[in-house]
């Protein structure tokens, strides 16, 4: 996935990836990534958990806007099934 991100970035379009495999994301050199230490196949979290899913999207869009170092990996440290989530403050992306 990081390789696809690099190809897109190379034509001038910024990317942000969600990563479940931190070392692989770092090795491939994805331009920007939010890492969540969750099971494979669950980049946005649990099914029917919209607040959790939207929180991950918020972190990704925030990183898209504010990252200034190529290859940055944001690590919010969310635990699997042991967090409670609120609706993100989307006005912070305005």
């Amino acid at each position: 996935m990081g390789l696809i991100a690099r190809a897109i970035e190379r034509v001038g379009i910024p990317t942000v990836s969600i990563s479940i495999a931190r070392d692989l994301t770092a090795a491939v050199g994805a331009p920007r990534a939010v890492f969540v230490k969750w099971p494979l196949g669950h980049p946005l979290g649990e099914p029917h958990a919209p607040l959790q899913q939207r929180t991950v999207i918020f972190r990704a869009l925030h990183l898209l806007m504010h990252a200034d170092v190529p290859g940055v990996i944001d690590e919010p440290g969310y635990r699997w099934r042991r967090e409670s989530y609120e609706e993100p403050d989307w006005s912070r992306l305005a």
Binding site: M1, L3, I4, A5, R6, A7, I8, E9, R10, V11, G12, I13, P14, T15, V16, S17, I18, S19, I20, A21, R22, D23, L24, T25, A26, A27, V28, G29, A30, P31, K37, W38, P39, L40, G41, H42, P43, L44, G45, E46, P47, H48, P50, Q53, R54, I57, A60, L61, L64, M65, P70, G71, W80, W90, L93, A94
Partner: protein, 177 residues
């Protein structure tokens, strides 16, 4: 799709579904990828050139998502499948399916937002957080190895990048399997 998964693959997917095991796999894969040398070393880096509220986004996943009527990804070739499927922006979850035997996608089958959050992005456009979405989004099958990595980096990915440019895309959100 699901019918073709062996009990061994199911067991493997269960084991790799444990977060710590997934990280162990990532370390191994990272060591292997160092020897692939398919790319130059500098990380390309573009910037968002406009406010998010006027920007056009695209969603891409390597989780094997595609329209039910599209040709499924090839699960027989050991090196994987470096092709992709275009997913129209108005596709509903009921019109989409997942062909990817190398991870446990039962949760993503139950709620596609777990891996392909197009519905959330559409809501964010409605909330005016994001300006708009591209007319087409993309499903890949991320389990790619050997010379197909070169196919991906030299042909498939640049082809999609050109389509994003043609569609006026300002940023891309990528999700893995």
């Amino acid at each position: 799709m699901g019918e073709t998964i062996t009990w061994l693959q199911k067991l493997s997917n269960r084991i790799y579904g444990i977060p710590a095991v997934a990280q162990w796999w990532a370390r191994r894969a990272a060591q292997r990828s160092a020897s692939l040398d398919v790319d130059d070393d500098a990380i390309p880096f573009a910037r968002l050139r406009k406010p998010l509220s006027t920007a056009r986004g695209v969603l891409m996943t390597t989780g094997g998502v595609h329209l039910i009527e599209q040709t499924p990804f090839d699960m027989e070739t050991p090196q994987g499948d470096a092709t992709y499927r275009e997913i129209p922006v108005n596709a509903t979850p009921a019109q989409l399916t997942i062909t990817h035997n190398y991870y446990d996608h039962r949760d993503a089958d139950a709620d596609l937002n777990v891996i392909f959050p197009l519905a959330h992005l559409q809501e964010l456009v409605g909330q005016k957080v994001i300006g708009s979405l591209a007319p087409r989004h993309y499903g890949f099958m991320g389990h790619i190895d050997g010379e197909l990595v070169t196919t991906l980096t030299q042909h498939t990915a640049p082809e999609v990048a050109a389509k994003l440019r043609a569609d006026g895309v300002d940023f891309a959100l990528l999700t893995p399997a």
